[in-house]
Symmetry: C2
Subunit: 338 residues, 2 copies
């Protein structure tokens, strides 16, 4: 065994210190007082030998990994930088490690996600990266779970952290209609399974209804919260030339990039010909040309909160079941203002 048998164990430390492993363990974990002289001796030897407790052995003995998991389907866009940053900050502050995995519940094959009870103390689940079945099973096994940007399956009690989508979208569409007199508003949605997109669509529809504008399914277009997809699909739509529009809700800021490019290449001017609004207020939004009117979502804070809740859960503390972070419309120029 021991392919690389260099590692120094607690036993080595104990031997050199002339005490038992139990004593060393006690010193390390401050679980029971140890005589001062012994403490100093152990401390010194640990430094000299560069001893590092073996995580797996510890895990096996304590049933705790000191690691939280994050599962998401991909991390291609800049959206995830603040999210990860928030999670990482909160986790490391609590001395927890972060295990990140991308995963997408396959419909057919019933594979298991790479992280779970066997290698973490709890996990953060982003959007629909885990199926309802997986969530249900994990929850029933009492595994600490916090959902990010999604709600739990019915009758399953898992705390979640997300942002206010509907009202914000409603407001921004209202703005388009009331202030800029737009009435043919393209709604670009994200992945259909993603709740954010669904709520945003509701806000869109409500606004339309409130202003007596008929909902037209042809005005729905797929953007997948992804700049390239948004670009391609909008280009196609323009090329077909079947549907006229004077405004676009892009779904999120990443898609807005693609939209602006497509519009620009098609000789359509923003905001003169078409108003464009996004969602997230990612770092770049203010710098786009024209500056993007969008909805500010506190993504980093979402990460922090979710992690904080998860850590409480792990400590068996009660937590607030739902956290809905407020969003705020940021008016810039792409809608036509100024």
């Amino acid at each position: 065994m021991t392919r690389r048998s260099d590692s120094v164990t607690i036993r080595d430390v104990a031997r050199h210190a002339g005490v038992s492993v139990a004593t060393v363990s006690r010193y390390i974990n401050q679980t029971t007082p140890v005589s001062l002289e012994v403490a100093e001796r152990i401390q010194q030897i640990m430094l000299d030998m560069n001893f590092q407790p073996h995580a797996a052995a510890r895990h096996l003995a304590t049933k705790r990994t000191n690691t939280i998991g994050l599962i998401l389907h991909n991390m291609h866009t800049d959206f995830f930088a603040p999210l990860l940053s928030g999670i990482q900050a909160e986790a490391s502050e609590a001395q927890y490690n972060l295990l990140v995995a991308t995963y997408k519940s396959p419909k057919l094959n019933n594979s298991q996600p790479p992280i779970g009870p066997h290698n973490t103390d709890g996990m953060l689940v982003f959007a629909d990266s885990l199926s309802e079945e997986h969530l249900t099973t994990l929850c029933q096994d009492q595994f600490p779970l916090v959902l990010i940007h999604r709600t739990p399956p019915v009758n399953i009690n898992i705390p979640f952290v997300t942002v206010e989508n509907k009202a914000a979208t409603r407001n921004i569409i209202d703005h388009l209609i009331e202030v800029h007199n737009r009435r043919s508003i393209l709604f670009m949605h994200g992945p259909r399974e993603q709740e954010d997109s669904q709520w945003r669509e509701q806000g869109y529809r409500e606004s339309l209804t409130a202003h007596g504008i008929a909902f037209n399914p042809n005005m729905l277009i797929d953007g997948e919260f992804n700049g390239e997809v948004a670009y391609r699909n909008l280009k196609d739509l323009i090329a077909e030339g079947k549907h006229q529009f004077d405004a676009i809700f892009t779904g999120d800021d990443d898609a807005a990039l693609g939209v602006l490019t497509a519009l620009d290449e098609s000789g359509i001017q923003v905001p003169r010909d078409v108003s464009v609004v996004g969602f997230d207020d990612s770092r770049l939004s203010a710098f786009l040309n024209p500056a993007l009117t969008t909805v500010r979502a506190p993504t980093q804070e979402v990460g922090r909160r979710a992690t904080s809740l998860l850590l409480q859960l792990i400590k068996n503390q009660p937590v607030k079941p739902e956290t809905l972070l407020p969003t705020e419309i940021i008016i810039r120029r792409s809608c036509g203002c100024q």
Copy 2:
């Protein structure tokens, strides 16, 4: 113990299948053929019982974690999205988990980084997140290591992956001087310890020298590869009004955001009054106003390559000691072109 004694072990599976744990283990790891009927029985029972091998136990027995670590000092900017994405993609493809940690070697206290041989099979070290001492020790312990955006300490042999900094910077400064006739070029550097910044400064100096422009230390300004810092420092410099300039190399694209804002707020027009160029070609660069002339760095590819090398190292395969990915100047409008 067993605070949550729900977990089903290999022993349970063995018992239900009427075989020994060894046989189950063999089936799971395909280490030795198992009779067909036994195989099917085990398979069925594992599904029924929802058995998941316990990672720590496995780790303890095999000395392998199937996890790679990534250590960096922070992940505040969008620069890290493609990097992480590349790393994650490559890791998960090889069935490896990714443990992410932020860490900064403290000067005084000799704390240990949260990831290392005790919980990973190898690790990716970004820039100067780990001290030379740490690197040296880990390397001597034969721990698989790949450096990202930095080179190893002298006489220490650790493969690294980074991008070509100097020539690209030299070229882009050449462009500023030769094409746009700029001669007072502010050089905004990143963190001083970061090699990227050092190489870029060399390129800057070489270009100056080649064009007979005296190097002026007052033209060096701190940007820390960070938009807010860049904004603040440039604002201060402008307020002081001591140093005139007709161009700025911002260090990276993130800092360019701050620079453009500061310039705009100061009534300085880009590129008419001042040329601005960045580095990285992050997602937003093309969309800035004016579109940013910059150097394209294949950040995602850096992540992929580094991970790929690390995985080879873990398999004890020999690897290329240095990978220098090419960069390319992307001319847009902020330098004054078009």
